[in-house]
Symmetry: C2
Subunit: 439 residues, 2 copies
């Protein structure tokens, strides 16, 4: 149970490979109709997601969560405010997720009221000229699903597909782009990519937390949607791959012309001289199976925050003087373009950047990163990579999983008592690019 993005970040290289960082230059229009968005995810902003696996784990002893999610940004009630923020930034898209735990609060019992809630959000996007990008499942699963083993259960793909089918029947008509799962590619592999300084401890706490939840709910295994510890990672990966395929088929059966994809967590894996073998191995282990699975999709969602630079003996440290994010890792503007290039080379389908951003208390880092990363992205596009949109993570500071509210990824800050959102200076930077449709 951990933020995969942050764990990947924790493993990032700490030195640049020579020649990798192309000089950034400004200017350049994006294609007409390019999607400019901001993203959230249900559990991270809605608040009071009491029927989810994650809420349950936040409240067992021991827990690996720094703090509980609580009210989050109260977006379950304040979603019209969120949509107004997106519109007022001059963006034309909003990425958010449906909460499975709300829509199917008990096995096979679907809530029309909650489907209506998400329908209102989707129509609220349309009313504001925003294309809704809807993630059907962003990590959290219903507590009952986790209590029967979650994604370790043999029938988990079918249960996910049943949920997708019901949600699609109610909602698909107005969705712009759908993704089945968020960052499923790292499930079961987090143990491998954790740095040795913190990995064993966190995996141990995660395992103890999962066991405490199993006792609390009197079940053999309580396995949450984004568990860090996995009894058998290969089983989880197999079921998630099958879940994507079955969920996609269920959605397409309802509305065949709706573009459906999957969003993958990807670092820009780079090779310093002699590091090609390790780089390729990392790509194959972490991304390639999912990118190949995406070949049948209308697009692949790429979510990138950092890079890894591989030397012959392993990851290299960041260059001296590198700008750092909240976790101490390098902020590298070219990583997005590099990742998008690689993703497209394997998947062979158009790319949507469904997440990109930086966790930092210093918004100047974000304000500098956005134009620099977009300039590089445009170069990749000029080089032939079809990219349909860019969605910044996140609209507002939110609940960053095991790290609680400390990491700040938001374009807006959040007052956790009044729920007031305040734009950071980077909003005007990103807004100007989106309005001009050019960087």
């Amino acid at each position: 149970m951990i933020d995969r993005r942050t764990f990947i970040a924790a493993t990032a290289a700490t030195a640049a490979a020579p020649g990798v960082a192309a000089p950034l230059r400004s200017g350049g229009a994006f294609p007409e109709g390019f999607l400019w968005g901001a993203a959230t995810a249900a559990h991270q902003v809605e608040g009071n997601n009491v029927n989810s696996d994650c809420w349950a784990l936040e409240h067992v002893t021991p827990t690996v969560f720094a703090e509980p999610s609580g009210d989050a940004a109260n977006s379950f009630q304040l979603w019209p405010t969120d949509l107004d923020l997106v519109r007022n930034m001059g963006l034309n898209s909003y990425r958010f997720s449906l909460e499975w735990a709300r829509i199917e609060p008990e096995p096979g019992a679907f809530s029309t009221a909650m489907l209506d809630h998400y329908k209102a959000m989707i129509e609220g996007c349309r009313a504001r000229g925003l294309t809704p990008m809807v993630t059907f499942n962003h990590f959290t699963t219903p507590r009952w699903f986790a209590a029967r083993g979650g994604w370790t259960a043999a029938d988990s793909p079918q249960l996910f597909a049943r949920y997708c089918e019901r949600a699609a029947r109610h909602l698909a008509g107005s969705i712009g782009y759908a993704t089945t799962l968020n960052e499923p590619n790292l499930a079961g592999l987090l143990q491998e990519v954790l740095p040795p300084t913190i990995g064993p401890r966190l995996v141990a706490v995660d395992k103890a937390m999962s066991e405490a939840a199993a006792r609390k709910f009197d079940v053999p295994l309580f396995y949450a949607g984004n568990g860090l510890y996995a009894p058998d990672p290969a089983v989880v990966r197999r079921n998630l791959l099958a879940g994507h395929a079955a969920g996609r088929a269920a959605i397409k059966a309802v509305r065949g012309d709706l573009p459906v994809g999957v969003s993958l967590a990807m670092l820009d894996e780079q090779a310093a001289p002699g590091g090609e073998r390790l780089r390729d191995a990392a790509r194959e282990r972490l991304y390639a199976p999912w990118l190949r699975a995406a070949r049948g999709d209308e697009f692949v969602g790429v979510q990138n925050y950092e890079r890894n630079v591989w030397g012959p003996a392993g990851k290299l440290p960041a260059p001296a003087g590198a700008v750092r994010n909240y976790a101490g890792n390098e902020v590298y503007a070219g990583s997005l373009a590099g990742t998008v290039r690689y993703a497209h080379s394997v998947a062979g389908v158009p790319v949507i950047v469904t997440e990109h951003g930086v966790g930092t208390d210093d918004d100047r880092v974000r304000a500098a990163l956005i134009p620099a990363a977009l300039a590089e992205l445009r170069k990749a596009m000029a080089g032939g990579v079809p990219v349909k949109g860019y969605v910044h993570w996140s609209l507002v500071d939110n609940f960053e999983w095991v790290f609680g509210y400390k990491p700040k990824f938001g374009l807006h800050s959040l007052d956790r008592t009044t729920f007031k959102r305040t734009p950071k200076p980077s909003v005007s930077v990103y807004s100007a690019i989106a309005r001009r449709n050019a960087v």
Copy 2:
């Protein structure tokens, strides 16, 4: 776990005592500022109250519930529609309840977002010229509260008071009238008043359901807010009486001038010649301790649906030709006035009729009952009983506890798929009385 109102109804007399039913006459103004309202309760209309004791019990095996509450009337989202209905009827008050399970989702963890939700409802009442009557707890308690023994736990009054204090701090400023508990007077006594034809079976299922929930959540006792089976009824009653006192003190400490009371479930206990002893015994057993407890309050809430007529050997049957409600019991218009007279005679404080109505598929019964009962109520008032308001149960057909959605108490019908509310003909009858402030 049962609808106390309905169980009381199930025990109602089936024959009238001579001379009890005074002839009804029309006409007569009510005092200026008289409160005309309609009532709901959170679990019965909000929907998806997944963190409550009741939801948990609806989903264990065995369960005594005919069906789960599910989306109910989706009033958690559609409360503005509900308030509009009340206003459009020409009423000046709305009675609803706060959901403890939402406001305190984990022990000691209070949700500002959910308090904001109820604050918006209270302010929504004021914006429509409606005086908000707020029940702090209408039967359902948080699942965590039930899982630690509910009202059997020695510290339950203090836990309730802590919740009342936090809710009052956020909400008390705009509340018109507050009640601590809904119908606590019957807790632990339902076993006694159940008719022998159904009582033992329901109590047995209720007990088995409670035990199944205890196993599911791995606790010694799962005791819900309106449990039918009680390990020790005297303990539950003692804690509820202490809970009312502590909750009231907590609310008054926040806002001393806010009227605070408790709503009691009361039948009009009548005596045929020779039945006085049994009538008095029933009154003492079921109501008197709570009416005496209400002596320190600003008002007592009376909730009446039917009467009992006692003969020397027990309850008498209803008179031949009596109009019957959905449960087959007599509909008797004079019962409200009789109950109000008795309640005031013991409590010595003003009365608010916080519930009155009839469960029936035939709205003509409701349309006839309302003016007839109000004419009798006005006579009681003319005789010196201070009554400050009348609140009809219910605004809309809803989840009637163990009986599910079958009993229809609403002034409006409910489409359970679209959540559309449609006024029944009785709306115009009640509305005309409220607008004229005269019956």
